[in-house]
């Protein structure tokens, strides 16, 4: 197996509310470049918390996340933010797009954050919107788009800086199955065509067919790891 692009060891997150909630318990995970990982499990099992930790949006109570040789524990908040600009793409369940910006501006924002020139940003924005089939809605504001269309724009934005890994938290949670499938197909296409690495959380069992690896979680712990290329590890 090639060098993992994303890795976590004994990742643990405890929220200090009441008696304390262990949202993520000693999770160990390795993701190779080009993999499509699906994280499944019932509501409240810790999928969102895990993705937040993997994306550097939150700090673990203990354990370590390593993304492209960067140990998150060694990075300050600002360094984490800078790291997210270039290495991580996010797609959330809702409130994905910045409501004050148009679809094109939303897609362009991550590229502006890393200081790309105007022309290049404009060109790539169009390219990305084209790939998700939203070119004709470029100047629309998020209010004027359907949920599925918003998610497609969000996918384009997540991919704008060609991140090492795209983290998606229930990207289809708000969509009907047809739009949901469309978003997953987009992921799948980027995965196949550009070798982009995806980690997607979802409870839809139907999405297993897109994944190369399925991680089953329960009560914060990984209970089963399913390698869709064949083997099953208990």
């Amino acid at each position: 197996m090639s060098e993992p692009i994303l890795k976590c060891n004994e990742l643990h997150k405890r929220f200090l509310v009441g008696d304390g909630v262990d949202a993520v318990k000693d999770v160990r995970l390795t993701v190779a470049p080009g993999e499509f990982v699906l994280i499944m499990g019932p509501s409240g099992c810790g999928k969102t918390t895990l993705l937040n930790l993997l994306g550097g949006l939150d700090r673990p109570t203990r354990g370590e996340v390593i993304l492209k040789h960067r140990k998150f524990s060694r990075l300050s908040e600002n360094e984490l933010a800078r790291m997210r600009r270039t290495l991580v793409g996010f797609v959330f369940q809702f409130f994905n797009l910045l409501p004050d910006l148009t679809a094109a501006e939303n897609v362009a924002l991550p590229m502006r954050m890393i200081g790309l020139g105007h022309e290049e940003v404009a060109r790539r924005t169009l390219e990305l919107l084209d790939e998700v089939g939203m070119v004709d809605r470029a100047s629309h504001s998020p209010y004027e788009l359907s949920g599925g269309e918003q998610q497609r724009v969000a996918v384009a934005r997540a991919l704008a800086n060609r991140p090492a890994v795209v983290l998606a938290d229930e990207p289809t949670g708000n969509l009907d199955s047809q739009s949901g499938n469309r978003v997953m197909e987009l992921f799948s296409r980027f995965n196949a065509r550009h070798g982009q690495t995806f980690v997607v959380a979802s409870h839809d069992r139907g999405f297993r067919e897109y994944a190369t690896k399925v991680v089953h979680m329960l009560d914060g712990a990984v209970v089963r790891m399913e390698d869709r290329t064949g083997a099953v590890t208990p």
Partner: protein, 416 residues
């Protein structure tokens, strides 16, 4: 295995590691990044932005109108100033030998409206209460008169029959040179400002406050440098004077303006001056208005700000975004406020004589005022946005002013 997580530097360490020369390198790109976002926010939420601007404009306009009215009142007072012969027992006091090169012609009456810095002390002695004033040896308030054995020379106009405390160094004040300003009471101002230096025993009437209201005098428009050409500061001379007086009257208590009690009284009087009170209220109200609207805007946009942070915006850039939004609204408010003030004063001048006018100083002060409102109003929202984690913002959780994670997750204090 426990791993140490990256330590957030302490505020002191952060301050130390921060260098001014880093600022332009950071500010340029950050500015370019957040400026369109700030513009868009203001454009999309025009009404709210207009409200904030209006609050600032109100503060600026009321400040300017009050300031113009104050200056107008002072000018009005000027017009009514008349010299008042004062006190019988007056002696000017200039301790130490007079410098030889004093131009005696300078020792003229102070023209009405001109002023001099004087330092004041009240001296309670066995022989009554005196007021000592520190003054410069070149004071225009002094008329060099030769005193013989502590007596005024013959021919000195009636009403002035003082006695010399230090005959060898004393300089008399001739009656016509003693001037007081009678300011008609407006906004509860003091009515009598005494422009006199010397050592005198107050007449039977209650002493009418030689603690000259300096602001008023400045407003009367005398260039500061005109009267005072002292080698030593009046305050220094006062110290010397009171020391000698204390020696002369061992049982006496010397009370100067710097005596704590007097200082407090003085400050209290100033704080209660209606103009200042209204000013403070206006600034506080404007800051509170800006604060609540900014806080509302922050709370409404938690998810938006969280998204920006998730996409990689640094805390300082997020802070800059909010400051820029508030700053744009303040500038808008400042300009509107100038317009409103100009309109109001123009209206007032139709009925008001003499006309109220605004000077460049007023405009500068109003800029400072708007900046103060901006700082007071946006400090907490900006701090909140900087302190909040992505998770708190993105999932609309409560945000706390303290970054301490266990504090932030206990939540007993409420948070925002």
């Amino acid at each position: 295995m426990m791993r140490r997580r990256a330590k957030e530097p302490s505020p002191v360490a952060r301050w130390r590691s921060w260098r001014v020369r880093d600022l332009p390198r950071w500010l340029g790109p950050a500015w370019r990044l957040v400026r369109p976002l700030a513009h868009r926010q203001l454009a999309r939420h025009g009404l709210q932005s207009a409200m904030v601007a209006l609050v600032v404009a109100g503060a600026v306009a009321s400040y300017l109108v009050m300031s113009a009215a104050g200056a107008g009142a002072a000018r009005e007072a000027m017009a009514q100033v008349r010299p008042v012969p004062l006190f019988a027992d007056v002696l000017a006091y200039a301790p130490g030998p007079l410098p030889a090169d004093i131009d005696r012609r300078m020792a003229r009456a102070v023209e009405i409206g001109h002023w001099e810095m004087v330092a004041v002390a009240e001296v309670y002695t066995a022989s009554g209460r005196y007021t000592a004033l520190g003054l410069s040896p070149t004071s225009r308030l002094l008329e060099a008169l030769t005193l013989t054995a502590g007596r005024w020379p013959s021919g000195t106009p009636a009403g002035v029959h003082g006695h010399a405390v230090f005959p060898d160094h004393a300089v008399g004040i001739s009656p016509g040179t003693i001037t007081s300003l009678e300011v008609p009471g407006r906004h509860g101002w003091h009515t009598l400002h005494v422009l006199v230096t010397g050592l005198y025993r107050p007449p039977g009437a209650p002493f009418s406050g030689p603690l000259v209201d300096r602001e008023t005098l400045i407003r009367l428009g005398d260039p500061v440098h005109q009267g005072v050409v002292g080698w030593l500061s009046p305050r220094y001379r006062l110290t010397a004077a009171t020391a000698r007086l204390a020696r002369m009257f061992p049982q006496g208590t010397v009370v100067t303006r710097d005596t704590p009690g007097v200082l407090v009284l003085d400050l209290t009087r100033r704080a209660w001056s209606p103009v200042l009170t209204v000013m403070g209220l206006v600034v506080a109200l404007a800051a509170a208005g800006l604060f609540s609207l900014m806080l509302l805007s922050f709370l409404r946009r938690k998810r938006y700000l969280g998204m920006l942070k998730a996409l990689g915006l640094e805390s300082s850039e997020l802070g800059l975004l909010l400051v820029m939004e508030a700053g744009l609204m303040s500038v808008l408010g400042l300009i509107t406020g100038w317009g409103m003030a100009a309109g109001l004063i123009w209206q007032l001048n139709r009925f008001h004589e003499p006309a109220l006018r605004l000077g460049p100083g007023d405009l500068a002060a109003s800029v400072l005022l708007a900046a103060g409102v901006l700082v007071l109003g946006s400090f907490i929202p900006v701090t909140l946005s900087r302190r909040a984690t992505v998770d708190q913002l993105l999932h609309n959780r409560r945000v706390y002013l303290s970054p301490n994670p266990s504090c932030a997750q206990c939540g007993r204090c409420g948070g925002f």
